[in-house]
Structures are given as structure tokens and as C-alpha cells.
Amino acid sequence: MDEGIQREALVATLAAIADRIESEKDHLTDLDSAIGDADHGANLHRGFQAALDGADPDDDPAAFVKAAGMALLSKVGGASGPLYGGSLAVASSEFEEGITTESSVAFAEAYLEKVKDRGGASVGDKTMVDALTPAVHTYKRAIEVDDLDPLAALSKAVDATERGVRFTTPIRASKGRASYLGWRSVGHPDPGATSTLYLLEEIHDVAAE
């Protein structure tokens, strides 16, 4: 992909995500009401709006993603702020040589790593990690083992993410506010896993255009 097109694609992706979060804001907050503190929608909306407002289309990809991460870090707050924002900011360095198929895999891995590191959650704790892990594993395998192109790989990753979100519903939370509920957390999907799915869906849809 040529650099100009990459930049446009990044701006379009960020805009699509911000839009999507806006329209899902109340839904995310409802999910967080059931097993958390009813702010996940507002948190992410505030953050992505700020990221979009502050985005500089002339930035190179690494700088662009890093700026978005820093904006989330300083606007979202809560648990999802350092997780979404900090991880984006750190993983952005994988794009320093530009966005390629390989660097996109490295980025995905670095992002997942940082989320797990900062939050200390593993798969099965009923957090965004449950959505991210199948997404990243599936993406990496589709590219490296199955030799699919990035768009087809992304499409598989979205399917995998969805299964991750559905997986969070029947299990008991061991991390995040939902863990305070003990067994009462069973039966509700995790808000952060759900918002992770929305992000991936938007990344996929913009890439498909």
C-alpha cells in the first residue's frame, strides 16, 4: 500500500471506530451496568472522540497510532483507558517502518502482550483478553500458516473475536469490576470484550472498502 493511501485508511478507520462507539455507547453502558459501573460506553466515546479530534492526517502510521493511544490514555480513564490507550501507544512502534502484512502481525501481538501485562488478566478471566486472544491467534495463523491476505485474515479474526465475546457470557469473572459479583457475573457478556469486537469489525470494514 502506498503511504498516502495508508494514511487515509488510518484516518478513515479511526473515524469509523469513533462513529461506531458513539452509536453503541448506550449499549456498552448497559452491559457495564449489569456487571460493572455503567461507564464503559461514555469512557470510550469520550476517548475516541478526542482521538479523532486530535488526529493529524500528516502523521506517519506509527505516530498516528501512538497519538490515538495517548489521547485514549488521557481521556478514557478507568480500566479501559490504560488498556486500550497504553497498549496502542506501545504497540504503535511496530509500525515505524510502515504498515505491512508482517508489521500488522507484530502490532497485534504486541498489543495483546501489553494488555495482558498491564491488566494481569489471562484468558478465561472474562475480560477483553478473551476477545483479543482468539483475534490475534487467528490473524497470525491465517497469515503465517494459511498464507491468506490481510483482509481475509481480518475477516477470520472478526469471527474469532465474536466467539470470544460469546465465551465471556457463561463464565465467572476473575478480573475487573465484574469479579466482585462472583457467581452473579455469569450470564452477562463482558463490556470490554464487546467493544473490542466493535473495533475489529470497523477495522475490517474499512479495509474491505
Binding site: A38, D39, A42, S74, V76, G78, G86, Y180, G182, R184
Partner: protein
């Protein structure tokens, strides 16, 4: 939902303006942030005591800014931890040359943002920053299957004692030792008659039928750990106090401090009715109550309900708890 607010997204900003307008002799705002600090911060040669967290718990945190308590208080959005950059700005503004102690309530959001802030502060050369994590909520098991116990009303006692230690000139490691001693010896259990309603959502966070209450509620409108039929004040007092005492496992005849805390919409009348039975019970068990606080210390917006906090006292803690403090929300003459 009816609230005395303007636009929901302005509520934290306007609340902070209203606090500064009310208490200019106690607090000032770091420009462009939602951080308030003592009017005279940084205090030369004194360990800075800073805290912060989501808004909606007023008078926590900024109400405790002043002599003998907090040096800085960061306000996040409602129930949302403040962001790391604001926390870092607060730490810098409260560094008076003797280091800074961060008092963090145990929520993943708060802990992660404070940790990020401390990393950022270290990058700027601020190396004398320590933190303690308060996790006094006995309703939540501390096990592999939870993110640890929550920090709730016991935090106020950490502010008071760490603040008094800093004020008398203790150094950072001593202040931290005392703060950790409080964390070790304090337990809290809460309950709700009603949910709260966040300004953003505009509807109760959870539904609670007219004949049920939630036990083991936190301070963020999270549902509690158990729902039961309505109980009278005495039964509530007993349940909460028993749970805390079980957890603390105090020595016979121990000396303690207690807080009967309102969740924001509980008439003081009712808190005193609860306190009556709490004190009776402690007395029956042979505990000796050194300090007894009743009121709204750590609230949850417009939730109706209460929590009971018990702290084990020893001589040094009791002295610091009774030492002078002069803040908008808590004044101790200390003579």
C-alpha cells in the same frame, strides 16, 4: 431522573469550580486539569499525600484537602479513574522535596492509571514516589478469582493518618509504613437500599425492588454480592459489623475506630439509628471504641444505604487519628 446539574458532561468540571469558589483558602485547581491541590501546595519539606479516583464519592477526595490530610486530589469522570497524565501532573505539583505518597483505592483502573503516572513521573526525574493500595471491602473475597478487595470508606482513615504523619514531619518511608498499617487493620462492609443514578446514564444502575436490599455493595453502583429481603436497621447493623469483625479477627478487648458512612442519600437520622446498634454490638463484644464517626465520608452519588468501617487502633494510630486536621469536609481541633 432529576438532578441538580446542567449538562451531564460538565458535572465534574462545574463541581470543581463550585468547590474552589467555596473553599479558596483550602484548595486551588491545577489549570486545565481536574486536579485540586492544597492552596499552599507543594508544602516545602513535607511528604505530599495525594489521592484520586472517579467522581461521585464527594466529599472524597477533594473535600479532604488541607492541613493534616491530603495535598492533592484528582477527580476522574463519574466513577471513572482519573487519567495517568493528570495523576502525573498532580504528583509533580505536590512534591515539596520530601517525596510523594499516592493513596490508591484497589480498582484495576485506579491502580493501572496510578502506575502509569508513576512511570511517567519517574521519566521526568521524580523518583521519590511511593504508593499504597487500600482494599478494605470485606464483602469481596480476596482470591485468585477476583481482582482483589475493593478500596472503600477505609481510605479516609488512610488519608487522615498518613496526612497527620506527613504534617508532623515524618519521612516518606515512615508515612508509607503507617499508611500500610492502616490498610492492614481496616475493614468495611456496605449495603444499599437503592441503586444510584449516574448523570450520564440517567437511570438507576441496577433495579432493586421495594422489598429487597443489596448487601456487599461497592461505591460505584456495582450490584452487591448478595440480595436479600428488606431488614430493619438493627439487623443491617449486625450483619455489616459481624462481617467486618469476622474479617479483622481482632484481639479480645481491642481498641478500635468506627465509621458509619452514608452512601449519599441516607438521612443522618438513619445513620445514627444504625450507629446505635453498631456501638452496642462492639460494646457487647468487649471492644473499646476510641473514635466514632457518623456521616457521609465516601458516597456513591444518590445511593441510599450505608457502610460500617472498623479500624484496629494502637497508640501511634490513635494519636494520628486525633491529630489536628483542617479541611473542607473534616476538621479536627486536636487539643
Amino acid at each position: 431522573m432529576k438532578k441538580l446539574i446542567n449538562e451531564p458532561e460538565d458535572v465534574v468540571d462545574e463541581m470543581l469550580e463550585g468547590m474552589v469558589a467555596a473553599h479558596p483558602e483550602y484548595v486551588r485547581r491545577l489549570e486545565g486539569t481536574n486536579v485540586l491541590v492544597r492552596a499552599d501546595a507543594p508544602v516545602e519539606g513535607m511528604v505530599g499525600i495525594v489521592s484520586g479516583g472517579g467522581s461521585g464519592h464527594e466529599p472524597t477526595h477533594a473535600g479532604y484537602l488541607g492541613e493534616g490530610m491530603l495535598t492533592g486530589a484528582a477527580a476522574g469522570e463519574v466513577f471513572t479513574s482519573p487519567t495517568a497524565d493528570q495523576l502525573q501532573g498532580m504528583i509533580a505539583a505536590c512534591e515539596g522535596g520530601a517525596g510523594v505518597l499516592c493513596v490508591v483505592k484497589n480498582y484495576e483502573g485506579d491502580v493501572m492509571n496510578f502506575e502509569t503516572a508513576i512511570e511517567l513521573a519517574e521519566l521526568e526525574g521524580e523518583t521519590d514516589v511511593e504508593y499504597v493500595v487500600v482494599d478494605d471491602d470485606v464483602a469481596v473475597e480476596d482470591s485468585l478469582y477476583t481482582s482483589g478487595r475493593r478500596g472503600v470508606c477505609g481510605t479516609i482513615l488512610v488519608h487522615k493518618i498518613a496526612g497527620a504523619a506527613a504534617a508532623r514531619g515524618d519521612d516518606l518511608s515512615e508515612v508509607k509504613r503507617l499508611a500500610e498499617k492502616v490498610v492492614d487493620g481496616v475493614g468495611t462492609m456496605g449495603m444499599a437500599l437503592t441503586s444510584c443514578t449516574t448523570p450520564e446514564k440517567g437511570e438507576p444502575t441496577f433495579d432493586l425492588p421495594d422489598d429487597e436490599i443489596e448487601l456487599g455493595i461497592g461505591i460505584h453502583g456495582e450490584p452487591g454480592v448478595e440480595r436479600t429481603d428488606v431488614m430493619g436497621a438493627d439487623a443491617v447493623a449486625e450483619h455489616l459489623t459481624e462481617r467486618v469483625l469476622e474479617d479483622l479477627d481482632l484481639a479480645e478487648g481491642a481498641r478500635v475506630a468506627t465509621i458509619v458512612n452514608g452512601m449519599g442519600a441516607t438521612p443522618l437520622m438513619e445513620l445514627y439509628v444504625v450507629n446505635r446498634r453498631v456501638q452496642e454490638l462492639l460494646d457487647e463484644r468487649g471492644f473499646d471504641v476510641g473514635e466514632c464517626w457518623v456521616g457521609d465520608y465516601m458516597t456513591s452519588l444518590d445511593m441510599a444505604g450505608c457502610s460500617v468501617t472498623v479500624l484496629e487502633l494502637d497508640e501511634e494510630l490513635e494519636e494520628l487519628l486525633g491529630a489536628p486536621a483542617d479541611t473542607p469536609a473534616l476538621t479536627v481541633r486536636g487539643d
